[in-house]
Amino acid sequence: MPADAAKEGMAGAWLRGASKGDREALNQLFLEFRDPLYRILLPLADSQEDAEEALQDTFLRIWRSKSPYDPAKSSPFHYLVTIGRRILIDRRRKRSRRIVTVHQEQSESVIDPISGVYKDNLDLHAMSNLLQQLPKAQAEAILLAFREGMNQPEISQKLGRPLGTVKSDIRRGMARLRQLYREVENAG
């Protein structure tokens, strides 16, 4: 992902070009961001295939997008991540509705009634070291918000914790993540 402003400016121009039908701009965007974006989408997806499809759909959505990219609100990479994450959450919700309906009788204890995802999706060991360094309650709350797209009352219900505790966990968890990230940046 581009580190400096000039690179970001160029990536922004590719984004705008791609949404106006410039195939070469889309190609440049794809070459620049395919793997960085995939590295984010993979842990957010339910499978490798799911991540690949979301990756493809992200670039296709840029190609067909009519709303202009606004560099004041996010970097090009963050913009792509936002689209890819939204695609994954939408797909998972559609899928989970089907799973809950079809398998309700056989596997009610396995399927979570709120999100429809399998409970072992909450396995924190699959996540990065940074997330594992948070207290479990904080990591779980952040995971459910960012990966599953749940709002705070839904997280509270899923984890069986009071809403105030969940809010507090998210606030503390994000503060800790920023702190850890700064330490990594400074060390590197």
Partner: protein, 395 residues
């Protein structure tokens, strides 16, 4: 950066801001460089935490190009839609074919076998036995691909397959219906349990008011989550306990955060409590709708009732946040915002953060005006509230 703003940044990055809050935030984001930097930092930290460092995608630009001309994502959606809309047409065609085939079959059965042979080169003489002894010959058609019987059998097989398919769809629909029924039952059960909880809560604190006549005076102080920014819950006009002699302090979060320096007052305080006390007579629930909604929504709320005559306090708590290991929820009260806090003591263990607590104070003149619950280190006895505020209420 202010804590509230940083919290909004984090919620935005996690996709937890919604509606007007989101619109307002994005409007500010477009113009504030400080906000943009904060969003970038939070997002980078979050993405760093989530990334899978060594993963490489197998997607090629050539694959992507196939979807550019109106294909890709959109095509998949169209395919799914077409499958759904094709189902009725398949049945219409199947029904029409069935009628046609039955008519054909009847025609074939009703016609002379010789019709098959007339003018046909595809007939052979086949010898066989019939009736035990008599040797007879009969004329039968050789079945070719165009043979109506074969066509009929093939159509019947196809129809049978359709019927099997239809049965499967029917079974799936029945399973869905059953699922919906079970969800409805579950909701009914949940509603029943909410009602029970509601009644239990009513029973838990109504006895406290038994025997009250007009001469008694008591104070009700609402308490809210330290994170709350809305004061809607704090409006006291719907409080059914209030009469002309009662006083109600509505919490004002802006002023409630100023913790005064405490001094030892030498008062003796005692505290006791259980989770969900259930005794006394059930009665209509004397709670405001706003408070009940907040409780059901999992918000941390509570209220304290103080009886002047008995110097007794009743504390109802709902969804109190859990404290970190080594910390305990501690109750403090004080007469007014300029006075010192009196440490009542640590709260007893409450199931799920909800329950009732009674306490009394020996000082006959004491009149509480503000109440606070903080998370204090379990191994210390601080004279002042110094830990994280869990709930607070007061003038």
């Amino acid at each position: 950066m202010r804590d509230e703003l940083q919290e909004s940044v984090d919620l935005y990055v996690l996709g937890l801001l919604e509606g007007e809050e989101l619109l307002a935030f994005e409007k500010d984001l477009g113009t504030s460089a400080e906000l943009q930097a904060a969003v970038r930092e939070s997002k980078e930290a979050l993405l760093y935490a989530f990334q899978s460092p060594s993963a490489v995608s197998s997607l090629r630009f050539g694959d992507l190009e196939k979807g550019l001309g109106g294909g890709g994502e959109g095509v998949k959606i169209l395919d799914r839609a077409r499958k759904v809309t094709q189902l009725p047409w398949a049945w219409i065609w199947a029904s029409a074919a069935t009628v046609l085939l039955i008519l054909n079959f009847l025609l074939v059965r009703g016609s002379d076998p010789g019709d098959f042979s007339a003018g046909s080169d595809s007939l052979v003489e086949i010898a066989g036995t019939s009736g035990g002894s008599a040797l007879k010959t009969s004329t039968l058609p050789v079945r070719t691909a165009e043979d109506p019987i074969l066509l009929l059998e093939s159509e019947i097989r196809r129809l049978e397959e359709d019927i099997v398919q239809r049965d499967l769809v029917l079974e799936e629909r029945q399973a869905q219906l059953e699922g919906a029924r079970r969800v409805a039952n579950k909701m009914e059960t949940t509603l029943g349990s909410v009602q029970t909880k509601y009644d239990t809560l009513a029973m838990s604190f109504l006895p406290f008011f038994e025997g009250i006549n007009g001469a008694n005076q008591y104070t009700v102080i609402w308490m809210v989550d330290a994170d709350s920014t809305s004061s809607g819950l704090l409006a006291g006009s719907a409080n059914p306990f209030l009469s002309e002699t009662d006083r109600l302090w509505s919490s004002d979060l802006a002023s409630a955060g100023d913790l005064a320096q405490a001094a030892s007052l030498g008062w003796e305080a005692s505290i006791s409590g259980t989770d969900m006390v259930s005794s006394g007579t059930p009665a209509d629930m004397p709670m405001t709708d706003a408070m009940f909604e907040a409780i059901n929504g999992g918000e941390s709320v509570g209220f304290m009732v103080w009886r002047d005559k008995n110097q007794q306090g009743y504390l109802a708590l709902y969804n109190l946040p859990a404290t970190d290991p080594g910390f305990q929820a501690t109750l403090w009260i004080r007469a007014d915002s300029s006075g010192a806090y009196l440490r009542i003591g640590p709260l007893p263990e409450l199931s799920g953060g909800s329950g009732s607590v009674y306490y009394s104070i020996s000082d006959s003149e004491f009149q509480p005006g503000e109440v606070l619950i903080t998370a204090e280190a379990a191994d210390s006895l601080p004279g002042n509230p110094s830990g994280e505020i869990l709930l607070r209420g007061g003038p």
